[in-house]
Symmetry: C2
Amino acid sequence: MGQTLTEKILDDHLVEGELEPGEEIGIEIDQVLTQDTTGTMVWLQFEALDLDEVQTELAAQYCDHQTYQFDFKNTDDHRFLRSAAGTYGAYFSRPGNGICHNVHKENFAAPGKTLLGSDSHTPTPGGLGQFAIGAGGLDISVAMGGGAYYVEMPEVVNVRLEGELPEWSTAKDVILEMLRRLTVKGGVGKVFEYTGPGVETLSVPERTTITNMGTELGATSSIFPTDGKTRDYLARQGRADEYVELSPDEDAEYADEIVVDLSEIEPLVAAPSMPDNVVPVREVAGESVDQVIVGSCTNGGYEDILPAAKMLEGREIDMKTEMVVAPGSKQASELLAREGWTAEMMAAGVNFSEATCGACIGIGHVPASDSVSLRTFNRNFEGRSGIEDDSVYLCSPEVAAASAIAGELVDPRDLAGELGELEPPGLELPDQYDGSKTDIIEPEESVDDGLVKGPNIGAAPIGEPLDADIEGSVLLKMTDNITTDHIIPATSDILMYRSNIEKLSEFTLSRVDDTFAQRALDSNGGVLVAGENYGQGSSREHAAMCPQFLGIEAVLAQSFARIHKANLFNFGILPLAIDDDTYERIEQGDDVEVVTDVAPAIAAGETEFTVRVNDDWEATAELDASERERRILEAGGKLRLTKEQYSEGGGGAAPADD
Amino acid sequence: MGQTLTEKILDDHLVEGELEPGEEIGIEIDQVLTQDTTGTMVWLQFEALDLDEVQTELAAQYCDHQTYQFDFKNTDDHRFLRSAAGTYGAYFSRPGNGICHNVHKENFAAPGKTLLGSDSHTPTPGGLGQFAIGAGGLDISVAMGGGAYYVEMPEVVNVRLEGELPEWSTAKDVILEMLRRLTVKGGVGKVFEYTGPGVETLSVPERTTITNMGTELGATSSIFPTDGKTRDYLARQGRADEYVELSPDEDAEYADEIVVDLSEIEPLVAAPSMPDNVVPVREVAGESVDQVIVGSCTNGGYEDILPAAKMLEGREIDMKTEMVVAPGSKQASELLAREGWTAEMMAAGVNFSEATCGACIGIGHVPASDSVSLRTFNRNFEGRSGIEDDSVYLCSPEVAAASAIAGELVDPRDLAGELGELEPPGLELPDQYDGSKTDIIEPEESVDDGLVKGPNIGAAPIGEPLDADIEGSVLLKMTDNITTDHIIPATSDILMYRSNIEKLSEFTLSRVDDTFAQRALDSNGGVLVAGENYGQGSSREHAAMCPQFLGIEAVLAQSFARIHKANLFNFGILPLAIDDDTYERIEQGDDVEVVTDVAPAIAAGETEFTVRVNDDWEATAELDASERERRILEAGGKLRLTKEQYSEGGGGAAPADD
């Protein structure tokens, strides 16, 4: 039987397990990437592992989230990251050089390689045939130490693309259509493999827009085969020699198939406040727009911004609308500036920003109260923009530019008709992506003398072995789809404590209940209850570290988002699945006791745990954990376990047997 | 007897008083400017005056300090300001369009006109013959209502420029030389009028660098005559018709004369942490530099950045040094982008920022701990960069660029020698400053339907009439040169409360003693004691409003900075001058009672007030206040007084007789 592309790459990298959906596999990691808000903890954990240098083929540290450096703690973090990259042998991308996914795609992403990144949008280079997964920071530290990465073998879904995109429809609309059909839970436990005749109609930048935002489907990863377009893109980036031809076997068997006819895609928008709340732009046309932002790892490339620039050339944005363009990388900024597009956009009224994640994570250009913001980003979770009652729409750069001109949401096809002059800008790649590499410091060019830690940079907390019993009150009962932004917000006033767990913990779940952190500390721990898809969103391991710091021993949820569940294991918190009835019946404030003798049950591979509530009624909760994950729980977390293993093994060069 | 240029312009605008140094004069204001952090209170106060529209020839509202909009309160402020400008008839410059002084210079500054601005660097357009003064926001509100502006007639000092600047020496070095000679107190009560054969060797942008930073001398204003260079600059801005020839009479009599031989100026730097701590760059050369920033209202023009861009072309900045360029206006950004310089700077490793005050006031790009930052700004007060123990040097763009290349402080003449290839970039004006005007909304283009106030926008507090007696404990004893940054810090976490006095007050003097605000509230008021030059720095009236809100009734200082003293009157706080002995003897915690019966003494024009300390010893404190200022004190502040006057007068069209 033939293999899917996913299976082929995983097979090449398999160190443990079988490629059976749902089975845990261990894979060798070729490349890792880290960014500034997750990277500090990755390197602190790497330091705790007592290793001399990075063992992967390539590691790259980016500074993209906190580039505005609003606080000295951000700048200190960047300096620490530079010193860590230099000390341990990673590339360092300076603040201002752009978003990790964009810069990685431009410089390092390679077909057929595995990439593990401490950011949930790591799957971006799936668009050029790399198998890339987002993971918690600790998984990155371990991978950098030469350890395998463990993940449940996903189901591989065939997304068959047919036809060709009409004018004004874009790759962004393709992934919005996927979200409309499948919802933010639709990709859990899955890899979306794009196939079919439509593939060759899409350039690499278009493909990476789709793979990037596959994360919003909850997918483990998304991937395209490679072809002439891939080779062409790499050649324009000066990396033609890294091209490898990759495709699924003709008789590959997929778990499912979805057909998307590109020719039927129309301009779409994700309405507030979930990326799957997708409707045609025409359905919400006329809504007044206060702010428009073009950028992010989804649509911040040169090829994304150029169409908007062409549309704005010689025009002016509406006077009541503010428009910001924040390129995804300095390569994009430099090309746009060199070709005169930056000046044109400025003349149209655009506030041109440095290359940063920025507004996408609520850092800068926070919308005004009771206002509408239209963004080319990938997420519009409530409050993520930096204001609680936000109203953020997600769309393509074309829809963004048209709406900025109109001052209201508009399908560019209709604006074209109204003004009688808007030409579809189409998509264009530069002959050569000849931006400078000044902002990338190579591993051998280390400029710091050892690790440089500012006063806010703590140490990686090393857990304690599992408690004999788990008992405590339900400190918080939450609904479905709680995101990691709810658990640990990423606004700039909070983000700067990512290297300081004690301080950061004060903000745990504050977006849900701002008394939670103090109550958790006061009650000396307890448990959390949640609905479906708990922990969706970013890969931030702090969403597990902080609850652990506050004494949370277990989370009882109807289901868990993949990366967050791994993070719960990694930090010694028991993720227990409960059924609908139990979820409905259990209340905040209830006393919960795991009656099953926890440590022996985990060791023995038990999957069912009896939970007694208020000494009154009982329910069964399920632990879906591999042997490896059970060992992690027993040890009190993965850092402690790995540290012991690496120390026994005399170093990290050998894949860790965890 | 002939007149100085200052006297000529003031004479033309005089509505009250005599042009005798030290005497209070009232002058008519032609233009006002406000920025976003002082502007919200200006407009709230204007609203409180119940007037229909701005009465000055021109009013312009800029958004420059909080352009990153890192909190919704910033964005709400900008929206409020846009709505206020539209409602009352002012120009509105959108966030991203640049710093008020730069944009005003480009678009509105006119020789011979008076300009009052709620920012201490308002004197910038003195470089093209405008008489411009920084003032507290309330003075702006009153001027916008048609009221005169009252100020002590300054001494006019002749700064005679001889010779011509050598290569690598710049206008920035001229004003640094002035600061080296005169200190930050050297200009108090003075206007510096530049004359002599050196004037014609300097372009308008160079002149405005000098007049801009005259503020750091404590000067009331600085001014240049107009000439062919002025006409030429205005013509390149498309405003040749606004040129007026202005010069002092040949037999003008000056209070003092300073001679600066331009040919002897060498590259200088203001070392941490005061703008007058000036030394030749060569004296501190070799100091490692972590961060370099080019921009600000002092050196953020096209002409300022272009030399740095030329120096960086084809080169790379040092790997351990981060460099940010933040243009002062979008006109500068657009020109630099259009001509390809932006791309060149990016290629060299520059992080190119939106046009903003930003880092100059501690908003963004805060230096790392224990690091050195080299900036082309005008102030390096301790902590102003956003980190307490900062180490900020001030210099020219040429020194900044050379040091970024070297990774350490270097005189560009020495770097030139070392590399054998650095050409002096010289100074160059564009043929036409043809940036777009898209970001300026004209008064008749109002886009909002009345005032739009977000939830953080309060009301202007209207004071209470003066207390019968002033008695209380010395809540804080401070040293010399306490700045308004000490009194009300301007970092972004605090700045966002500028429209919310109750909240903002919590931060009063927190940089000196973070228990102060609570102690003041607890003790139901008291007095402050300070050394020389209390309240130097910015024009922010919040530095008086917040102490007033906390119940402070008097400040006993050896001397006061001009704008702050006016602000103290405006908010009903008694500024009493004490002598050295009294300052030395009085201690924090002492009980102070103004024995003189305050209200009648103020009304009667008394200048000496007896102060009794700890019921033990007495001292005499002096009140140097005009009749007008006494009436303001009696009324409980200027807003209450003006409101009464305007309401009696049936509107604000007539100059207010206050």
